[in-house]
Subunit: 193 residues, 2 copies
Amino acid sequence: MNPDFQKIKSYITNAIQMDEDVFGLALDYFVVKEIKKGDFLLKEGKVCHQIAYIEKGLFRTYFLKDGNEVNTCFCMEDSITLSHKSFVNRVASTEYIQAIEDAKVVTLSYDNLIKLYQLDYAWQSLSNVLTERECIRLSERINAMSFETAKEKYLHLLEKQPEIIQRVSIQHIASYIGVSRETVSRIRSKILL
Amino acid sequence: MNPDFQKIKSYITNAIQMDEDVFGLALDYFVVKEIKKGDFLLKEGKVCHQIAYIEKGLFRTYFLKDGNEVNTCFCMEDSITLSHKSFVNRVASTEYIQAIEDAKVVTLSYDNLIKLYQLDYAWQSLSNVLTERECIRLSERINAMSFETAKEKYLHLLEKQPEIIQRVSIQHIASYIGVSRETVSRIRSKILL
DNA sequence: GTAGTATTGTGACATATGTCAATTGATTCT
DNA sequence: AGAATCAATTGACATATGTCACAATACTAC
């Protein structure tokens, strides 16, 4: 088996119980892609045709509000990135997915995923588990982000996803937690005291 | 068939294609409950054992942050209310679900839902569709609530769910959009000018 | 290495929103 | 109906955060 598929295999079998041969059904469908920093996995207006398992690198998801970029998600190694709404409903995406570090992903197209659904129920089940997880992640993010001060939001992120703070520029973090970059800068300088 | 089940039947067959007899499998499992204004469908610390289809009435979901109630959701007629995280993972809920109007719901327990999953795949499929929808609703709420001003958030709610504004007290709306009730009061008085 | 560009930090000030207090208005209960 | 409780409004003021301008630092490309 392509050694690139070892990590996504662990990821999947970690989420649900899946037999070796059932996983094998997907081998011909996986496509490995290298993405350069700054390049896009998805742009507004395009339908999201693939899910991408991130083997290496870091992506941000953002949308445009009054011409300004608003970050909604950072995805790094051993996670999956896609525009959920666009992928599931087969509609044009309202968001962008951009690599902010050089990246390597294993992709699976919508059409092939549907084929896998029909070949074995475990693949359907995997989708369900991942969707449930996404749901819970989103509701936690709402609670964290809607009812906390700028400082609380920063500290919350620092606690929950310290690696993001390390690897992502301050302006992207500011946009992610919904405050100005100056405010994040001031919060950060106070914390260090 | 119990006339109380007519509405939930429409709701389900609207979400997915489901045969008459497959729907019939659930008839013995549905339990109709009347809930008085102020009473709880779920409290913090309890596991959410049921999903509730709302035939009549209005519920709010909230959690406690530093002793203050923070509203996260309002659910009314022809929708479903539950604590997703608690129901799916069988863990203690961190949130409360309270009727803020006299209500009538049709409930289905977790155990019975699992039985239905095994009796016919359509029930599993229904769950998946509803979870997908919830995901999309949550991400829209994040975008609306995290990156808008108090006024924008109020107007957004007014546009998307005008009935909420009519039926829910101003303090609950304020908590829902994450601003003080005085601020909502001032926004409202300006809009009317 | 140097020039140029992009990113971050800091101060001054403006503004939105929160907090507190008092008043008015609406519900509920007996 | 009247008392009592609860909800909403309004004003004064405090505070958090945004905006703008500029300096300092860190990257990037030649």
